[in-house]
């Protein structure tokens, strides 16, 4: 595995760990989700550059579009949870426990 591949694989894994081990705020979880998408963008762009497949150049942009929609949805959920729960603290989301 070349150092280039190692860079975006480890970026994805660390952001995934950041999402899994989120502590206080919902915003930090959304940021980790965005950085996962960013590392995927770099990986997909590297594919079309290294393998000289010029028809694949659209795919990183498509992925970025969907991740932008997802970020918008995440922010809407953040606003909704601030309106109903008062803050974006994750330990307030405990109304539905078994």
């Amino acid at each position: 595995m070349s150092p280039l591949h190692l860079s975006f694989y480890s970026a994805f894994i660390f952001s995934g760990l950041g999402l899994a081990f989120h502590r206080t705020h919902l915003v930090s979880a959304l940021l980790c989700l965005e950085s996962m998408m960013l590392s995927m963008f770099v990986g997909l762009s590297m594919w079309s550059i290294e393998n000289q497949v010029s028809s694949f150049t659209m795919v990183p942009i498509l992925m970025l579009t969907f991740s932008a929609c997802e970020a918008g949805t995440g922010l809407a959920i953040l606003v909704a949870s601030t309106r109903t729960h008062g803050s974006d603290h994750l330990h307030n989301l405990n109304l539905l426990q078994c």
């Binding site: 899994a20 919902l26 995927m40 990986g43 594919w47 969907f66 949870s81 989301l93 078994c98």
Partner: protein, 346 residues
């Protein structure tokens, strides 16, 4: 909800599902999964109740992370093998990551923690969509890659799902959580046979969809959100109550109802594949879920609520029956004699 918004969300759900199940390229499959996730978030949170918003938050975080992991696993496979075809997923690490990602999307153990809470926070019809339609695209991806998946991992997850779905459902009184745990146990049955016979896994999923839809539609008619509301529904819709009992027993897998067909065929196939201890284990573990199905059936149909005899009963209003409920309930009770045809046409 605004009819334009509802129609846009419904169309997006159908579009996302169709894109994923008919795709050959991993990026298109990921696109369909994302469209599905985005479309169902407003349907979960539409009542703006704090529980609904919390359910939408938990659903969004888990599903978005799982979609990113699906795309990451396909990208690692592409860097190693040089192609993005869904059926040619050969690299073992990529298959492991893909199995974990789809397990998060479906709600298999040990990634099941979001599922009961999300179902509890969403309205009954959205819970029906979450249990049936949203499971179809990830399951399709598992079916397409089934020949390169790890059987030991899937069997372990399947047995744990059936066990936890049974045990954790025993202490519940809220109907949506009971149905969530029933969904987790049925996913265990689907996952255990996925590697050996994908057609049988698909048949199990179809029958589970029919039975679960019949239960959800019946519960929606009587607006039963917990066990005490089910107990007093016999005065309002007596025929639906009796049918609900039969559909619940069919979900439990009792012959001669339809739910027995997938369990029988799966145990037969597992025994043919020399996996008799696994077959025995999964059959015994589904006895746990039989207990809470029996409790629901008992409280809805076989006993009367603890009222005094001169308690005022609710009027029996003749509500017009809905055709989908009737059709799905009939299918979920009467399809067992057609099992050779069902096994052949799936």
């Amino acid at each position: 909800m605004n009819p334009y918004a509802t129609s846009i969300m419904t169309f997006s759900l159908i579009l996302g599902t169709t894109i994923t199940i008919s795709s050959n390229h991993w990026v298109l499959a990921w696109t369909g999964l994302e469209i599905n996730t985005l479309a169902i978030i407003p349907l979960i949170a539409k009542s703006h109740h704090p529980r609904a918003v919390e359910a939408a938050t938990k659903y969004f975080l888990t599903q978005a992370a799982a979609s990113a992991l699906v795309l990451f696993s396909s990208m690692t496979n592409a860097w190693v093998t040089g192609q993005w075809d869904i059926t040619q997923m050969n690299h073992p690490t990529s298959c492991l990551l893909l199995t974990a990602a789809i397990a998060i999307k479906l709600g298999l153990v040990p990634f099941h923690f979001w599922f009961p809470e999300v179902l509890q926070g969403s309205p009954l019809m959205t819970a029906l969509l979450l249990s049936t339609l949203m499971k179809f695209p990830p399951l399709t991806l598992l079916l397409l890659t089934s020949k390169s998946l790890d059987p030991a991992l899937l069997t372990a997850m399947a047995l744990a799902s059936t066990a936890l779905g049974g045990w954790m459902g025993l202490n519940q009184t809220q109907t949506r959580k009971i149905l969530a745990f029933s969904s987790i146990s049925h996913l265990g049955w689907i996952a255990i046979i996925l590697v050996y016979s994908p057609k049988l896994a698909l048949l199990t999923f179809y029958l589970y969809t029919i039975m679960t839809s019949a239960v959800f539609l019946a519960l929606n008619k009587i607006k039963a959100l917990n066990l005490s509301m089910i107990m007093t529904s016999w005065t309002k819709t007596p025929v639906l109550n009796a049918t609900l009992m039969l559909v619940l027993l069919s979900l439990a897998g009792l012959p001669p109802l339809t739910g027995f067909m997938p369990k029988w065929l799966i145990i037969q196939e597992l025994t043919k594949q020399e996996m008799t201890p696994a077959a025995m284990a999964i059959a015994m573990l589904s006895l746990l879920s039989l207990f809470f199905y029996l409790r629901l059936a008992y409280h809805s149909t076989i006993t009367l609520p603890p009222n005094s005899s001169n308690h005022m009963k609710q009027w029996y209003t003749s509500k017009t029956p809905s055709t989908p409920t009737a059709v799905l309930a009939s299918l979920s009770i009467l399809l067992l004699p057609l099992s050779p045809m069902m096994h052949a046409i799936v």
